[in-house]
Amino acid sequence: MFGPFRITNVLNGGLLWKIPWRLSPTQKARQRKRLRAVDQVVETLSNALAKKGETLKSLERWKAEMPTEAQMLPRDKYTMFDRKAKRYRKGIHKLPKWTRVSQRINPPGY
């Protein structure tokens, strides 16, 4: 019943991984922290370049299009659009490498 070779649905063969469908509160807290860290990087870059009077297309585009952590809705922070999912949303932790890529905006209306 116990030990490393116990019969569980995961070990019993088949493709069954128990990934929770939503993030836990601590995962959400860390996600917000990561979002803020990226905001911080963008802000530092923007301030440094503004002091020198230089502009950067990718930076301007990011600032124009991407909301900051404070401006984002919770549903955009923790879920993302998926055309195959019920109600068109899935947890952001289903995105490969989700802790190291930016996924902030979703199709309008979804």
């Binding site: 990561r34 860290a37 990226v38 911080q40 990087v41 963008v42 530092t44 870059l45 301030n47 440094a48 370049l49 002091k51 020198k52 230089e54 502009t55 950067l56 990718s58 930076l59 990011w62 490498k97 802790t99 190291r100 890529v101 930016s102």
Partner: protein, 113 residues
């Protein structure tokens, strides 16, 4: 002339080759490594490519390797204080002197540790 102090905070394992290439171009090869690059649009664009992986600060001048090493050195946990005539030290001198007087020897010099 100001510089970006760039720290690789997250590893690029499993990320696209282009991302890893940008890190290599910045001179970042291992986590927690720190590099300095001048503030310019060119380096800012490279940082934008890897903004999820790095932490940056704007600093006035780059630190040398030795300065970085010294800044990472932890506190030793003890401090060697120079001996001086504090009340504690005087009491010890007096106490040892009294002991020696009791032993019958009146010498007081050389007892400070």
């Amino acid at each position: 002339m100001s510089y970006f102090r760039i720290t690789l905070h997250r590893s690029a394992i499993g990320l696209p080759k282009r991302t890893r290439g940008v890190l290599a171009a910045l001179g970042l090869h291992r986590r927690a490594q720190v590099v300095f690059h001048p503030v310019s649009a060119q380096f800012a664009g490279m940082i934008m490519k890897v903004k999820e992986l790095v932490r940056i600060e704007e600093v006035e001048r780059p630190m040398t390797k030795r300065e970085l090493h010294e800044s990472r050195r932890p506190e030793p946990g003890f401090w060697v204080e120079t001996p001086r005539a504090s009340s504690f030290g005087m009491r010890r001198v007096l106490a040892t002197g009294q002991q020696q007087q009791q032993q019958g020897e009146g010498q007081q010099e050389g007892v400070r540790l």
